[in-house]
């Protein structure tokens, strides 16, 4: 029976000291402990969130890097293509210019030749005129000697004239 008979003294001391224990521990132990736990959990959550965010940022950064690289490559290709086009154009233009110049030079040469030719012809004409006058002189001189001979002479002389 003693087992199930609660002692008054024990009940008294237990009530008093258990209430005191709850009060003391609540104030000096559980409050800082639970607060500390809560704070630590919050800081771990924050750290994990920050890490996740950093990872996302890294991903975005990597993506944008790749994007930039891709764009740069495209730009390079465009530039190279343009440069090639410009080069071709320059070469073409140069060729055109060169052929035009060549044509011009040929033209000029032709003109020059023509001119020289004309000059030569004029010269020739002048000489011919001079020759003609000389021939005429000679003819006139011959005429005085032989009439037929004149004609032969003229013909011979004319045949002798060579256009150079």
């Amino acid at each position: 029976m003693e087992l199930v008979q609660p002692g008054i003294g024990l009940i008294f001391w237990m009530t008093l000291s258990f209430a005191a224990l709850i009060f003391i521990l609540a104030k000096f132990a559980w409050k800082p402990i639970l607060k500390g736990l809560h704070e630590r959990e919050a800081s771990i959550d924050d750290a994990l969130n920050a890490a996740n965010k950093a990872r996302e940022d890294m991903k975005a950064l990597k993506f944008s890097n790749e994007q930039m690289l891709k764009e740069a490559k495209e730009d390079r290709d465009v530039i190279l293509r343009e440069a090639r086009a410009i080069k071709d154009k320059v070469i073409d233009e140069a060729k055109e210019k060169a052929s035009a110049e060549a044509a011009r030079i040929v033209e000029a040469a032709k003109e020059n030749i023509q001119y020289e030719k004309m000059a030569a012809i004029t010269d020739l004409k002048n000489q011919l005129a001079t020759l003609s006058i000389e021939i005429a002189e000679k003819v006139l001189k011959e005429e005085l000697s032989a009439k037929n001979k004149h004609k032969d002479l003229v013909e011979r002389l004319i045949g002798e004239v060579k256009f150079n």
Binding site: W13, W30, P32, I33, G36, L37
Partner: protein, 362 residues
């Protein structure tokens, strides 16, 4: 700095208490072989008496008996009798063999183990610091020191990983918070009840463990005492009752979903519900008391077997001791498990009752 000082003062307090007890132990060595002893040498070994003496409360903390010399820690006796307080040390009784200031410690009969006024024969109001009160106070000082020093490391090492004692007990604190309080009471209201639930859990758990230590300063069957478990059950009952909302009382007085003829004219359901309000803490009290006491009785029973058989034949006693010790070790391991489970169950059920008291109508 202030907290640090407090922690140190707790260590000092413990040292002081232990020191005083050790000194007084030596003082109370009383040689009783000189005479006036009623028992004779051929005293028959009574297992039942031995076991009961080990699991009940006492006015002195008996450590061991060598021959006829009792080694025990005397504890203060505080009596309130005829309008005045009487205070003296329990060693004055000489283990019940002497009267002091007109009081004696009954050794037999109806009032066995109680202090009786010799003249009037009545039992005075006994507020003595008994073995269990002393064990309880010591365990409370220990628990306070333990958790205040842990709390200090939480404030000192803010946001850092737990260390030492802190990392040993933190899983239990988180277990009580996340697996007991939160699911039973609810996310919103659990915080208010955390101090009580944590105190309850660690008080029961640590005292269950101390109770398993077979010698001083452990060995007091504190959580196996019905007064201790009863007070804790009353605390749970009071907190449940005071945190109850309207819905809880409506459920008791006018239980919904029950045929009307169970309520009128004979209020059958309200009577059952009101009984339930009281049986819940009553069951809490009995469960813890019975589990812990039963465990102690079984271990003591195995130990008694050695002496029972030893009294028949010394050789038989040695033979049985092997089996008994093996079973006692097994029981001890089981008791370690029970120490945790019973603390957990008491805390969990308390939390569930709080949760039920605040449940909203659905």
């Amino acid at each position: 700095m202030k907290i640090k000082y407090k922690g140190l003062s707790f260590i000092r307090q413990i040292a002081l208490i232990v020191g005083v007890m050790i000194i007084s132990t030596q003082v109370s060595f009383s040689n009783e072989s000189e005479g006036r002893h009623l028992t004779n040498d051929e005293e028959v070994y009574d297992a039942g008496k031995m076991i009961i003496e080990h699991v009940i409360d006492a006015h002195e903390w008996h450590i061991m008996t060598i021959g006829k010399t009792h080694v025990s820690v005397p504890l203060p006796v505080i009596l309130y009798d005829e309008g005045e307080f009487v205070v003296f040390m329990s060693s004055k009784f000489h283990h019940g063999h002497e009267e002091y200031k007109g009081y004696k410690l009954e050794l037999d009969g109806e009032n066995k183990g109680k202090i009786v006024n010799v003249e009037s024969g009545v039992l005075p109001l006994d507020l003595s610091i008994t073995k269990n009160v002393a064990a309880m106070l010591m365990s409370m000082v220990f628990i306070s020191w333990l958790f205040i020093s842990i709390a200090r490391s939480y404030t000192k090492r803010k946001g850092m990983a737990p260390k030492g004692m802190q990392s040993l007990l933190e899983p239990l604190i988180i277990f009580i918070r996340d697996d007991v309080a939160k699911p039973s009471i609810g996310e919103k209201k659990y915080e208010k009840y955390m101090p009580y639930l944590l105190t309850l859990f660690f008080f029961i758990f640590l005292n269950n463990m101390f109770g398993l230590i077979p010698f001083f300063p452990g060995g007091a069957n504190l959580t196996g005492n019905i007064a201790i478990t009863g007070v804790m059950a009353v605390f749970t009952f009071l907190i449940t009752t005071f945190s109850a909302n309207k819905n809880y009382w409506v459920h008791i007085v006018n239980t919904p979903g029950v045929p009307w003829w169970l309520k009128i004219p004979i209020p059958l359901m309200p009577v059952v519900e009101i009984m339930g309000v009281f049986t819940k803490p009553f069951v809490l009290m009995v469960r813890l008391f019975a589990n812990i006491t039963a465990g102690h009785i079984i271990v003591l029973g195995f130990m008694s077997l050695i002496f029972i058989f030893g009294n028949m034949n010394v050789g038989l006693g040695y033979g049985v001791s092997v089996v008994s010790v093996a079973f006692a070790i097994f029981m001890g391991l089981l008791e370690l498990l029970v120490a945790f489970i019973q603390a957990y169950v008491f805390t969990l059920l308390s939390a569930l009752y709080f949760g039920m008291a605040m449940e909203e109508s659905h």
